[in-house]
Structures are given as C-alpha cells and as structure tokens.
C-alpha cells in the first residue's frame, strides 16, 4: 500500500541524481572544450615570480591558463616524475642521468639571491654584517651568542645584544636549502666535510620552518633568530637582512657581488602531448621576452633572451 509512495520517492531521487550528473558532465565538458590549462608546481623560491608571470600571461584569454603551485622543489620533482603536473620548478638541478632516466628535460629559468635574515630588534636600524665563515659556524652551532667576538669584529660600531642565537632552517626538502648549503660548503671546510650540500641536510642545531614563509615567520617571531630565505620573501616579510662581507667589503643582496646566488630550473616531460608542449613553449618564451621587468622588480635575475 505504501509501496507506490516509496516508488515515487525513488523515482524523484533518481531524477534529481540524473539532473546533477547531467549538470556535472555538462560543466566538465565545457571545461574540456574551453581554454587549455597548464599546471606547474615546485620550488617556493621562484614561486612569487612564476605566479606573477602566470597571472600576467593568463590575462590574455587567447593564451592557455597557466598556474604554478608552490609545493617545494622536491615535491615538484616527485610530481613531474609521476606526471601529475605539466612542468616543475626546481632550484636543485637534476643530474643528467636522472633526467635521462625519468624522461625529463631541464632548463635554467631565472637566478635569484638567497639572504640571511635576522631578528635583532636593537639593531633594526643598523647595517649588520656577517661573513661566510661566521655564517657557517652559526649554522654549525659553533657560535651561540650574538655578542660573540667574531661577530663583533665584523661590526665594529655596533653594540651587539647578549642574546642566544636561534638557528632557523627549512623543515621540508628545499631548493633554497640547496642554494644556501652550496654557499656554506664553498666558504667553510667544516660545513663541506660534516654537512654538505642538499635539499635536505642533517642540521646540527636549530628549529625548522615550513617553506620560505614558515622560515620568515619563525625568524620574525623569535628574538635572536637567524634564517635564510629567497630575497623577495625577506623583503615582503620586512625582515632585517644580514649583509655579507666579501673580501673585506660589505655587499648587499641587490649588488652583483652578492655571493649566495642560485639558479632555478624548469623541468618538463619529454612525453608531453605535442599541443600542450607547444603551449608550454609559448609560455616560457613569453616569460623570457616580456617577463624581464617583472623579474627585476621582484629581485630576480632573468636569463638573457
């Protein structure tokens, strides 16, 4: 007796389901026929620039829609190998064998500076200088206080605070770490021998932050902290940057002599379908042709055309 009502209910539910499915399929279909999409992911070091390029490029609706997710260099490499993204950004270049084995192509996109940042409120208005060897020994945990004689020797006019140094480093695999540890290895034998170069290394001391923003955040929260980030992130977070003494002369990050420079690379798959490949090639050549000003404004060094 009640079964008719139930049947009606079942019918109406089925109709609703069909309608929803129909709308979904229709929507999906539209998406497929619409603008081509290119998805990139990888290092957070070039992310501000890539995202800005993606935005500018995608403004023109005749262009494909490109987006770049800042997931970290190592994650980007994993994703391009798995084929879940169309291109990846990495700051630590893959070896030729690795590229060959995974069917990937790699090219240099831009360069950028990595800077040491410090949280020393009493010195906020002063020029604070470190040198490579001192920076390495701070990260090795050998220099533990800001008023250490070696830091004082580099900053003769300053009254350094009697404060513990809190080292902040990246917790995730990071191209920025690769650039930074490459520099430390080049200036410190002890660093080269004990720690070495890598996207992840075994840090002898300190605490971790997640990605560039996480490191900036921890540095800005902890008095007496020192961290390292890509230059733009440090400026955006309004952190104090420690300048570096190179051959007895203090160098700032926007000068040509700045020693911690990293190249950042793009990875693409050789088995990418031809139409997508040509769309990507168009995007990258657009970046090289028109993206130079944006790059310089964001403190990157573009590759010459």
């Amino acid at each position: 007796m009640n079964s008719r009502k139930i049947t009606e209910n079942i019918l109406s539910v089925s109709t609703a389901t069909l309608l929803i499915t129909g709308v979904a399929v229709f929507g999906f279909g539209c998406n497929g026929k619409g603008r081509q999409k290119i998805n990139g992911a990888g290092g957070s070091f070039p992310a501000p620039l890539y995202q800005s390029w993606c935005f500018d490029y995608s403004q023109d609706i005749s262009h494909p829609k490109v987006n770049y997710q800042s997931v970290g260099s190592s994650a980007g490499i994993s994703q391009i190998k798995a084929g879940t993204v169309d291109f990846a950004g990495t700051d630590a270049p893959l070896s030729e064998e690795d590229c060959e084995k995974s069917g990937l192509e790699q090219f240099h996109m831009v360069s950028g500076a990595v800077v040491p940042t410090v949280n020393l409120p009493s010195l906020a208005q002063s020029t604070f200088t470190l040198d490579g060897d001192t920076l390495a020994d701070i990260y090795l945990g050998k220099i533990e206080r800001w008023n250490d004689t070696r830091i004082a020797a580099l900053n003769p006019g300053l009254t350094l605070p009697d404060l513990k140094i809190t080292v902040v480093h990246r917790g995730d695999g990071s191209g920025t770490t690769h650039i930074f540890t490459t520099y430390l290895s080049s200036v410190s034998e002890a660093w080269k021998k004990d720690i070495g170069i890598g996207t992840i290394v075994k840090w002898p001391c300190g605490i971790a932050g997640q990605k560039n923003p996480g490191v900036c955040n921890n540095v800005s929260r902890i008095k007496g902290a020192i961290g390292y980030t890509e230059y733009t992130f440090a400026l955006e977070a309004k952190l104090q940057i420690a300048f570096l003494a190179v051959d007895g002369k203090t160098v700032k990050p926007d000068e040509a002599a700045w020693p911690i420079l990293g190249k950042t690379y793009i990875l693409t798959r050789k088995d990418t379908p031809a139409d997508k490949m040509s769309a990507m090639a168009d995007f990258f050549s657009w970046c090289k042709q028109y993206g130079g000003d944006t790059a310089r404004r964001l403190h990157y060094i573009p590759v010459s055309k």
Binding site: T7, S74, G173, I200, R221
Partner: protein, 289 residues
C-alpha cells in the same frame, strides 16, 4: 496489489553494502600500509624505532626521536588536560543549569575549532608569549618545542575528555551520592571516594579518548614543535611527532623515505587501534549499573 519493489530487501542490501564498504576500506588501508612499509622494514629494520638518526639525505631513517616526541607531548598534554577536564565535568554536573549550560556549550565549542586554528594560535600567540615570559626569568627559550606542543594538545583534548567525563559522571546513581552524604561524607569524600571509584572505568575511557586524539594530532603540532628529529632531553627542547613528520615529509618523499613514512603511519595506526580497543569496553561499561 503487486509490489513494484520489495523495499525491505532493497534496504537490507543497502545496509549490507554500507557495512561491507566500511570493512573493505579498513582492510585495504591496513594492506596498503603494510605493503608500502615493507621496503623500510627490510632496509632499516629495528633501527626504524630504536635509532634517532633521521636523515633522509643519507638514507638513515631512525624515528626514535619522533616516537619519543609523540610520547612526551601526549603525556604532558594529558597531565595538564585531565585534571582540568575532570574539574570542568564535575562543575558542569553540579552547577545550576543557568551556569552549567553556557559552560558546557563553551567547552563543546572548543571541540569545534579546527586544529589548524589551534596551530595558528600556537604559532602567533603562544610561542612568542612563552619566549617573552621565560626571558623575564632569565631563561632563553625559542618558544618552540615540547612546551607549546603539549599546551596546544592539552587545549585540544580538553573538551573531548571533559564531555565524556560529564556523561560518565552523570550516570552515577543519585542514591549512591546521597547515601555517601547521608553517612557523613564531606563533598570531597563523596566525590573522590564514592563517585570517582564507582565510575573509574568510564573515566579511564575518557582519558583514553583524549590520548587517542593527542597521539594523532598533526597540524597544530607541526606549527609549534620546531621540527627537530632528535630525542628531546629537556622541556625546552624542540621536538617532532610521528604525525608531524608524516605531514612534513610526505610530499617529497620517495623510495625508502616514503616507505619509512608508511611504516611510521602503521605504528600510529596500531597505537590508535590499541587505544580504541581498550576504550570501547571501558566506555561501554558505563551504561551498565
């Protein structure tokens, strides 16, 4: 009248399907974790739990630090949360409704706050606060590590533990409390010696629920633990937990590293399962007189 569809049969099948899907997902989950962790178990073996050398760069995967961090933060969190939860539960049950209801709602609201919010609060408020407060006593502290992790965890488990305790305590037969008062017990004696003793199993179950929640908490801890993979030796040390290690490393892990993370996930799952298995009979007992 002919039935077009036998609704009872359809309903039975629908329920069966639901139950089977649930079971199948659970089995598949365990199977995948086992399969994926085999590589790490073969290469690292026991050093996975006994070594504290965690360095993905050179292929050492000793998670003793993460295990110790998990144990320490969970234990400290429960030490802080349980007395408070118990006091709050007693208060809510004893207070007049116009006071008890808002307090109970406020406690329940704590449970509704997403864990990432607790993490943000920890990062932006708690860590700097700890640093500045301790510096007044001449202690130089980064603000990150065991202390903020367990404080945040304590806050997060408090509403769960308290809610279950409230229910457990509410089940105490009124006659029992009245008899205790009748023979001249003080309020404290009636509560501690009579109510708590008679509700021991249920209260323990409430603590276990808090334990389970604290063990698996990821985001909030990741924000404030400092990400140090060594075994913490002091209260002010940085630390990491199993869940935080998983969240931190998974995106970029491959090979043995990924397998080691699966193995850690397996350990966490086994711990949670053991807790669940001990909790159910404890909580279940409260309904019996």
């Amino acid at each position: 009248m002919r039935r077009i569809l036998d609704t009872d049969t359809a309903f039975r099948w629908f329920c069966k399907a639901g139950a089977i899907v649930g079971l199948a997902v659970a089995i598949a989950l365990v199977a995948v974790i086992l399969k994926e962790s085999m590589l790490a178990l073969r290469t690292a073996g026991f050093s996975l739990v006994f070594s504290a050398e965690w360095n993905p760069a050179d292929g050492s995967f000793g998670a003793a630090g993460a295990l110790a961090g998990t144990a320490a933060t969970t234990l400290l969190a429960l030490l802080m949360a349980v007395p408070m939860a118990f006091a709050a539960a007693l208060f809510v049950n004893a207070a007049p409704p116009n006071v008890a209801v808002p307090v109970a709602h406020a406690l329940d609201l704590l449970a509704a706050i997403p864990s990432v919010i607790y993490g943000m609060w920890g990062l932006f408020v708690l860590c700097p606060l700890l640093q500045s407060v301790l510096s007044r006593f001449g202690i130089e502290y980064t603000g990150f590590g065991l202390v903020p992790s367990s404080l945040v965890l304590a806050l997060m488990v408090l509403p769960y533990v308290s809610a279950v305790m409230r229910d457990v305590l509410a089940q105490t037969p009124v006659a029992l409390v009245e008899s205790a008062m009748g023979v001249g017990c003080t309020r404290w004696e009636a509560t501690w010696d009579v109510v708590v003793r008679s509700r021991k199993a249920g209260l323990l179950g409430a603590i276990m629920i808090g334990l389970g929640r604290a063990l698996g908490e990821t985001m909030a801890v990741l924000f404030v633990c400092g990400g140090v993979s060594a075994i913490p030796t002091g209260l002010l040390d940085g630390c990491t937990t199993i869940a935080a290690t998983l969240a931190n490393d998974f995106a970029e892990a491959d090979g043995v590293h990924k397998s080691a993370l699966f193995a850690l996930g397996g350990i966490l799952l086994a711990l949670e399962f053991a807790i669940q298995a001990t909790t159910i009979p404890l909580i279940g007992r409260r309904s019996k007189k």
